[in-house]
Amino acid sequence: MGAMIRVENLVKKFGDFTAVDNISFEVPKGEIFAFLGPNGAGKTTTIKILTTLLRATSGTVEVDGLNPKTHENEVRQSFGIVFQDPSLDQDLTASENMDLHGVLYHVPGKVRRERAETLLKLFELWERKDALVKTFSGGMRRRLEIARGFLHTPKILFLDEPTLGLDPQSRNQLWTHVKRQNEADHVTVFLTTHYMDEAERVADRIAVIDHGKIVAIGTADELKQKTNAQSLEDAFLALTGSTIRDESASSTDQLRQVAQMFRGGRR
């Protein structure tokens, strides 16, 4: 009872490559849960499985008590997501992107316009609302993605490295807003980030994932105690080592493409 997200023995393979290797965790309702891990650790893959974009190879996944595989639309209704990479339509204006999102999420017209105005003002995009997104800077696009993610009021909010490329002001604005939503509406938040200070500031519990496996899970203090570290950053490095993993991210993508090509070819 009370678990908004339940994952048991989840495995996701792309061909021979195991991106997510038998992980289990639960996120109770109203918790802010952070997923930390080096590049290519399996964070985004897990989010994609939870949000119906990918199908799990094996294991059980429940979002708000429902299986994303069999109850796609009900599950999709329950969450909002800010993606790691861009997902705006660059040939539309900021307002049009907001409006399209609102319609897709069944937000009634009046509420949609009011909320869009509030959010665009909050993230300082109101003056540029009628400009095409392709004329926006990287930071502005990011802010628009975030504003859009808040347009409907979901039960679960997935934030996949939401602060990537944001200035400190916008980061602060984002986390304040997330906290407020969490406290006022008991929105469950599932986030990933590379900024340890953010995780420590907002997350109730943190899971550290590496090579597709969860290596530690607990509050920031518990993680620090476990590793005898002064800061969360030290704890993180103690748990995941200090080798740089940038390569593994791109090779994962390559492997995925190869795997998809093969699958496509056989059909």
Partner: protein, 248 residues
Amino acid sequence: MNAIYILWLREVKKYSRSRVQIIASLGQPLLYLLVLGFGLGPVFQRAGGGSYLQFMAPGIVGMAVLFTSVFSGIALLWDRQFGFLKETLVAPVPRINVMIGRTLGGATVAMLQGTLIMVVCLIAGFRPVSLIGIPLGFVFMAMIAIVFAALGTSIGSSLQDMQGFQLIMNFLVLPIFFLSGALFPLNNLPKALSFVTKLDPLSYGVDGLRAALTGSAHFGALLDAVVLAGVAVALLCLGAWRFSKIEI
């Protein structure tokens, strides 16, 4: 319903904003119309076929609709690349509605483009035989547009990146155009060629347009309409199925 409408509107908005693209896409049909139309005209006339411009104009309209609708479907690949596809795939809207919205949007854009070419044909000297034929012509244009927008969506859902694009262009879209009877009459063809043209859905589309606009047909308007409707249903199902299988 709203989701279908907003995704349809998105396609139309994007089209109306891409003026450069609209003008660029007029280039190829114009080239065929003017160069072949006037270049082969005298030969066609001498062979007893009447006015070549009159003959090929419906074919060129069909071509414009074919290209625009297939590409609007394949534009799915751009949305995949630029990320917008994800936004529609996680939305709490049945995928079938997302697919229908996109396909109808693409078909509408293709019809607008076809209408534009039709106007150009009229300016070049093409004359429909009767005014009643024009609405019927639009019906056939719509059917061609839906058939090939659905085909484009099926292709776009199945490809991972733009690498397969040339392959599709050279081995699918161009043959569909050249084998459709847009440029030559379908009577008295060698057996093999005649057989292949009968398998090409665009043959029936162009024939229907020609029946509506010039009054002469190879298969007959009724058969054209029945075949196109059947193919449209089949391809919409295929597109919906492929679209529902997309993983990102």
